[in-house]
Homo-oligomer: 271 residues x 4
């Protein structure tokens, strides 16, 4: 009777939660931080140290990067995965990284705790189908021009395969507005939580593309009801090989997470 056979929120209102190390996603707030790309062992180590110190509970870093131009930096690949794993282990942070290619699923799974499907691949149905067969959580970004309905149907592709550890991630949609990189659609968080039982995370870094907007949009996202945030942070944003304008410094991240935690406590008190 439900609109989405497996993804729909059922009448009992029960929401999906699942463990990644000691975080119970869907219950504990997921605070992902780290650089856009893994650039070197030193950079990701330092990025991880800053993320940990700031209070993040998961480390991100791209090893395979989807880039508009084939001449842009495409990521370090397997070597990047190794560095990311090492940094996660060193600072006791589970790691999340993007899988671009259906043939890399097992490679990426060897290293990562959570696999990310990027916005450009949201409707890569063969990738989704294969990810339905593995036993790792999947963070599914909303496509730049995807309707909420299409996004949830993509989660359904993964669920249908038997993998029920799916996290949805709103990351901004493409509109005519050019002041921001994309337009963050926080009503999609409310919609996704109303329509499905899946945890919903927000990525204000890609959504806004502007450093000064990340904090207010993060706090707004918390009040919209999100279950986590994914924030880009870099030891030295100006030198970042990708997305330099939207990555926070360690100090900025610490300040952000502190405010997020207070807002979470406030949100809890409001119920």
């Amino acid at each position: 009777m439900s609109k989405y056979k497996l993804a729909s929120l059922k009448e009992d209102g029960k929401r999906t939660t699942f463990k990644v190390e000691n975080i119970e996603i869907g219950k504990d707030f997921l605070m992902i931080a780290g650089p856009c790309s893994v650039e070197s062992e030193e950079q990701i180590m330092e990025g991880a140290r800053l993320a940990k110190e700031a209070g993040a509970n998961m480390l991100r870093g791209g090893a395979f990067k989807p880039r508009t131009s084939p001449y842009d930096f495409q990521g370090l690949g397997r070597v990047g995965l190794k560095y990311l794993r090492k940094a996660g282990d060193e600072y006791d942070l589970p790691i999340i990284t993007e899988v671009l290619d259906v043939r890399d699923i097992y490679l990426v799974s060897e290293y990562a705790d959570v696999l990310q499907v990027g916005a450009r691949n949201m409707q890569n149905f063969t990738l989704l189908t294969e990810l339905g067969k593995i036993d790792k959580p999947i963070l599914l970004k909303r496509g730049m021009n995807a309707t909420i309905d299409e996004w949830i149907n993509c989660a359904e592709y993964i669920l249908k395969g038997g993998n029920n550890k799916v996290v949805l991630c709103e990351r901004g949609i493409r509109t005519y507005e050019t002041f921001t990189r994309n337009t963050l659609d926080l009503s999609a968080v409310v919609a996704a939580k109303e329509l499905t039982h899946l945890p919903v995370v927000v990525d204000p870094s890609h959504a806004t593309g502007r450093r000064e907007m990340i904090k207010p949009m993060s706090l707004a996202a918390v009040m919209a009801g999100c279950d986590g945030l994914e924030i880009e942070e870099h030891p030295n944003p100006c030198e970042a090989l990708s997305d330099a304008k939207q990555q926070l410094t360690g100090e900025e991240l610490k300040d952000l997470i502190k405010a997020v935690n207070e807002t979470l406590k406030f949100r809890e008190s409001l119920k």
Copy 2:
């Protein structure tokens, strides 16, 4: 040097505030509530009573309604203004209403404390120019497809005429997404406060068009830094002559305003 001669935030960081009755807009949080349209004396009286009781500090109600079809209800006109004024006086609430026609500015000014320019009229430059010459505050809604830059330029039209009491209002932009009526762009609140010294208000009713989203989006808007909210409320939403699906009951409004006030206190504590 500023991008917008008059609207730009200057180096001193000074923000515009101004009084409407005993509310200091830009400093006190503006909590506008009331029905989409003034439908009858009883309806607006009851709407005002509920708004007051719920804790609103300004009453809205449309007397001149911009409607897609010429055969839809176009508002009660002058009679609607009278009822709205009477209701505002009865419950000691200043009133805000839309002015559609440059020829109605003086008529509307006689009754209303604040004049609203609707999204469809945002770039009605002759209207803006005339509103620059009067001594009443203007709430300028962002057009459905207006860039932030165009919106601020429209404020500039009013300011240029000598009227510096301008409030900006984000009300959702038109995108491909159809689950919500429009897409609420909260990053525009951050942008407008960063680029200008004007107060910025958010209308989650028109932005979402869905009753259940109004509360979470209102709290998110507060955390994004807005200076006020405009909420549609109706004594009997199901019977509303326009926008029935997005109007709150008195009870819902009371619950909303309570949460908004707590969130404001929390926001204050965060600084």
Copy 3:
């Protein structure tokens, strides 16, 4: 039974035509050309001469200009209307110009043969209502973010007042694409002709904002079934006070109209 009481194409398939001077709009192809703005008597005289020579049958020129910023050139106003009239008379071309302000309708009507409603004013319902009461043809541009349904409803506002001389004009819609100024939606021409009995004109100048696209898009528009074109042409495009990049020279216009006329003949032969 029709969707639009007055605008809908009826079962008899009869289409609206009406005379402006010796052009039967809806039957004869309407070839409007002229500068974006009337800038001086010399400029519009020369613009008219070139338009006539190139084969246009109506002269355009803005006297009241809707501009994003209040500090941009706003048009010459009444003086511009006089120059435009003089140029039209000199070269025996009926004239079309935009009316921005409901209070200017009678002034503009004194001079112009056809009144244009610009994209930003498409839903200026008071303007539409007043234009319904006059006996001059109205060219109604589609709003930058207007659905086809909203656009036809705006025509309905004019028709409802008793003025049945309405021409629809597609001029590009706002999308995320930035290579072109707007995105020309030629399927809207087919839709408008299928849904209504009104003539439909296309403005490729504003739609593309790129000189080199105007000819191919004009020929494409003819094959999509349009009843006319509106083209910006300037004696000296580089010195134009507005829209310099999209105005054709006299030579380019002549080349364009020649190709349009051949395409029209071909279209006729195809039936």
Copy 4:
């Protein structure tokens, strides 16, 4: 110096052409027709017969279908490829079909003459990279929300691998308009031919989603300068398993191709 290292049109103005059987793509007009999906041997045989009879020179048919929901018909897979090949051989038509999965490239290449990359996979960079290594022409559809620049960069991914047989295909972009399935952007045809040396094809079936618009939009596309068309045609559109509303009958296709051929002749005469 060129914006796109390999895709850019060089100063010599030389355009890419290449042979598929006896069609020289980029020089001969490419007229692709056939059903959305291969549904059965009989259906594709009959579809091919009608396509041939109508004057098409290439046969399309989906064997692997990207569908919004995992519960929708996903195509016949390898069996579909066999039927398609058989139908192409029977009626002496080269065949084009979509490849969804990087692991299927060699399978699809065994059967198909041209491989199609769908809109949802436009930025599936691993797929593009692998397609750069094979010796079959690739038809690259523009993503539903892709800028012209992103689209050309995706072609660059294929070219960079050494495969220079790339055809671009405009198939409509996603906008707020809901009357049509997408908004056909014919100015993108002009842009793509101005910026690159690659052939550009138009798919009015997916762009409009409305049977009655396919003919006028096809003729418009020809006048915009396209090098080919891709049209959905089905022996019995009403019973089609996908996209029923936009598939032409054999008769409609014949009528369309006749008009396209006359328009091509006219276009030639215009130069």
